[in-house]
Amino acid sequence: MYRTLLGILSVFGAALLLVALTFSKTLEAPADLRLANGTEPKSLDPELTTGEPEHVLASALFEGLTRIDGKTGKPVAGVAERWDISADGTVYTFHLRDDARWSDGRPVTADDFVYAWKRLLEPAVGAEYAYMLFPVALAEAYNTFAGHAETLEKQLMPAVTALATQSPLDARSWQDFLRRNKANDPLRPVDDDVLGELLARRTGTLTASDLATFRARLEHARAWLRDESVRARAHFGVDHGVIAKDARTLVVELRAPTPYFLQVLAHNSSMPVPRWALAAHGDRWFLPGNIVSNGPFRLANWIVNDHIRLEKSPTYWGKSEVRLERVDMLSNENQMTILNLYLTGALDCTNRYFPQELAPELKKRRDFEQAPGLVVYFYRLNTTRKPLDDKRVRKAINLAIDRELITKSVLGLGQAPAYTFVPPGLPAYTAPATAIRHDPDEARRLLAEAGYPGGKGFPRVGILYNTMEDHKRLAEVVSDQLRRTLGIEVTPYNQEWQSYLEAERALNYDIARAGWNADYADPNTFLEMFVTNGANNQTGFSSELYDRLIRLASDVSLLARDPDPTLAKLREPEPIRALLAATQSGSPTDREHARERLRLLLLREAESILVEDEFPIVPIYFYVNGTLTQPRVHGYSMRVLLDDGSFGPNLQDTHPLRDVWVDPAHKGEP
């Protein structure tokens, strides 16, 4: 029997030994700053990352031509020490710093950028953020045209051939066919009026000859796309688009003037990558031991699912400005854990990862800071499904929701109720008039008009959200409001992320929660997605005018060709007509200025289609970002310094680590 006891004891001993072994790892020196950084980063490859945690890390490890300044939130000189912009705003010449160095001591050269950008745009690499560089000439062609040509050849053309047997075809099935085959995406870059007319046909029928024309035009489009792609591959990075003049001079040619381009250059997608490290380690080049970086920090340690340790880079050109020696970025998604870690002093900054449900309580604390963000929270309505295919129903839903109550009592962080789609705060963009408001009586009237008086006969609809407590709470409130105001049965239900994405894309939902985060500070990032069959549209919403407005906004010179048909359909054509005239006269700066204002007005007209006529979406609120930060941490602010010396909100919630410091006097304080 004593042997049994001995056995039990030895198991005990073995377990303890294992514990000891696990913990015998060398302990790190304590960090100056410990930040919550959300979920475990999937990659540190600046070109391939997509998530917020990865973005934060990439911005600390790498530096682009420009970087965002922590104080002003504006792009300032990064690897590029200065730059010249051509008079028409389409050619940027960057002069790289002499002392910009990789962490292995090599200089950062213009070639590194050319290499990185070509890599970003290389279709086989599969970078999701490739489109960030699309303002650069040939970039889009380089990245997508070959694929588009292939899609046309392998998918769309055989499908059209097969469809030809069913002609004549009514326009509804035609649009259905186009949506199913995702026909618009590959054809969007193709400038062909005949194709455009056929794609946009929503009434009448399509005859066999229409389809034959379409097929012939597709053949043309395919050939054009292929040729353009070949051209782009031959010239991009060599003598067109982006050119390394010498080791320290980089010339970038843009397709059209892009006011936010310097901002784009600070984004991780256009940061340089060390080509020798990639060659040596393949897709593991960013792991500890392999990584070479050029930013203010370097990677010291990476404990998966626990934390990433950054330390100040000794080769960074601006190292005298970097005041943090060691930073721990915690990988944890559990908001309550993060809050509790913060409150017990194990964390210096919660970032946005605190429980939203406690927002009203946390708001009262002095170490809590907040600022509106460029994010809109909305519901997609599936316009292809009954009864949501009726815009009166969609409007009724929009009117039945009490956004005021939601932002004040459910969210409570000071979020603004959203009656339009584009978040406020973007310079020079003013929101259009909107029909969305809280009006239960009108909502009931509209629903009755649509044939569901008092909700009678209204089929049960679901609100789909991805699994997360905050979305759940909101879906429950919204469904309750709809139920009580309209008398309709609404069931909130969740799916985890990947299923949810799948369901949204396949239009396999009635109402679906969504959020959209600005890629860059411009309304285009919000409005572009609702073009007909756009990949991110996902509502089935389709409006010819909307599509035309978005296209015109991307190149306002197109409007000058034949303005009247478009202007006739607009709500406020007069200011647009005036600006159109201004783009053709006056000084180049005036013209440039007029073009920009015209662009924004066109986008505004597009937005008004969403919120005044069609309602494919239900905007709910505009985000407020907040954080709890220990008082000893400085430079981690939700406010930025504006040009006029006053402070404004840190709209994109960016906090470059190089500009953060810790007050040593505060050390030791919990």
């Binding site: 029997m1 004593y2 049994t4 006891l5 056995g7 039990i8 198991v11 005990f12 073995a14 377990a15 294992l18 514990v19 696990t22 913990f23 302990l27 475990e40 999937k42 990659s43 490859d45 391939l48 997509t50 279709p123 086989a124 599969g126 970078a127 999701e128 997508t144 070959a146 694929g147 292939e150 899609t151 995406d185 897709d283 593991r284 792991l287 404990i303 998966v304 699912n305 626990d306 944890n332 559990n334 854990t337 509790n340 870690l341 409150l343 017990t344 194990a346 699994t467 985890e496 992320w497 990947q498 299923s499 949810y500 994405l501 799948e502 369901a503 894309r505 396949a506 990949a535 991110n536």
Partner: protein
């Protein structure tokens, strides 16, 4: 359409046939004659040893080691063990295949991001990560990687890493936590249960019943949350979450152990009461043995037998229960991969964790069976 998930729940004929074949193989192993079972058990054992040894020492040494191991198995291992091992390999294969099918038929692809990528990007990613559109093809690729390259495949969602590199640091963490919880659960459960069983209806009995009640009636994450409030937030004795020093392991291990401790206490109490009512205990007392000797020498073994047979399921429960605790306490263990892999559709991660879990559970069950045989001579002589 293109994405695997949209096929819904229907199995293709090929997939169904493959599952049927797998089940048949598993069944066929039961009809192997003893000699063949020895051969297959030993060779499978060698195969598994090779898979592990190759990771540690590389192919040539690994091969040598595994051949030696197989020969040793063939020569010395008990038939029952070899029989188990014979079933193990087809089981694991079937497990991989069935899991692959489930993953492929679940909606959503691993390549869907928030912003829609073009079909070409997805195709490039599929080719790069070796995740074709058909489950059967994927199974083939996966097996080839496993057998030829000795790799569990690249993670789709955590770029630049193979599943084994992800799991290697996580496994000791989970094993430490799990083993500690198991030891804790056994120690506390046995102690309470035996004390309670020796004196039913005494204060000790009520105390242990009370503890079991708590352990049985609340999900572990509630216990963990209460622990956090009490010991981390109110008293400040222990950290809220994280991993790094010994203080970090206390709350998670206790949280994980408590429900099992409760169950073990119940089993041990029952076992003790039963053993103490046996005739041979009276015999021992009639010899004039002091009560301590009666309990330690004569009763303990019998009392812990039901507990031992529960250890197998308990180990499985602790391992699969660990991700709740790991999530709650932010511990970088296996469980997180397991859940996140399934939710992200990170196919290789899911299969890798499933394989590791299944092997661990099987190995532990085998150990438990051996321990049982060691403790109970009657079982030993029967097998």
């Amino acid at each position: 359409m293109g994405r695997p998930g949209t096929q819904g729940g229907t199995l293709s004929a090929l997939e169904a046939a493959a599952v049927a074949f797998g089940v048949a193989t598993l069944a066929g192993a039961a009809w192997l004659p003893p000699k063949a079972t020895r051969v297959s058990g030993a060779s499978f054992g060698g195969l598994i040893a090779f898979a592990l040894a190759r990771l540690a020492w590389g192919v040539p040494v690994g091969a040598l080691a595994s051949v030696t191991f197989a020969l040793v198995l063939f020569r010395f291992a008990p038939g029952a063990v070899l029989r188990r091992v014979t079933f193990l390999v087809p089981s694991l294969l079937l497990l991989v295949f069935v899991t692959t099918l489930l993953m492929y038929h679940a909606p959503g692809s691993p390549f869907a991001g928030e912003k829609v990528a073009s079909p070409q990007v997805e195709a490039a990613l599929r080719a790069h990560f070796g995740v074709p559109k058909s489950a059967v093809d994927f199974f083939g690729i996966y097996l080839r990687r496993l057998v030829v390259e000795g790799s569990l495949g690249p993670s789709v969602k955590v770029q630049g890493r193979n599943v084994e590199t992800l799991l290697r640091p996580a496994l000791p963490v989970s094993l430490t936590l799990g083993l500690l919880a198991l030891v804790l659960a056994s120690a506390v459960g046995l102690w309470l249960g035996i004390v309670a069983g020796l004196k039913p209806n005494s204060a000790a009995d009520y105390a242990s019943t009370g503890l079991s009640a708590i352990g049985l009636s609340l999900p572990s994450f509630v216990l963990g949350a209460i622990g956090i409030v009490l010991f981390a937030l109110k008293l400040g004795w222990l950290p809220v979450a994280g991993w790094g020093d010994l203080r970090h392991i206390v709350l998670p291990a206790v949280t994980l152990a408590l429900p099992h401790a409760a169950y073990i206490a119940r089993l041990a109490r029952g076992g003790t009461i039963e053993v103490m009512s046996q005739d041979f205990i009276r015999t021992a007392r009639a010899k004039g043995l002091p009560e301590s000797a009666v309990v330690l020498r004569h009763a303990l073994k019998g009392a812990i037998l039901p507990v031992v047979s529960y250890l197998g399921p308990a180990a499985a429960g602790i391992m699969t229960g660990s991700f709740v605790v790991e999530t709650l306490f932010g511990i970088p263990g296996m469980g997180q991969w397991f859940v996140r892999g399934a939710i992200n559709r990170d196919y290789s991660v899911v299969l890798g964790t499933a394989l590791v879990y299944a092997s661990l559970v099987t190995a532990f069950n085998l150990l438990v069976d051996l321990a049982y045989a060691w403790l109970d001579p009657r079982v030993r002589s029967r097998s």
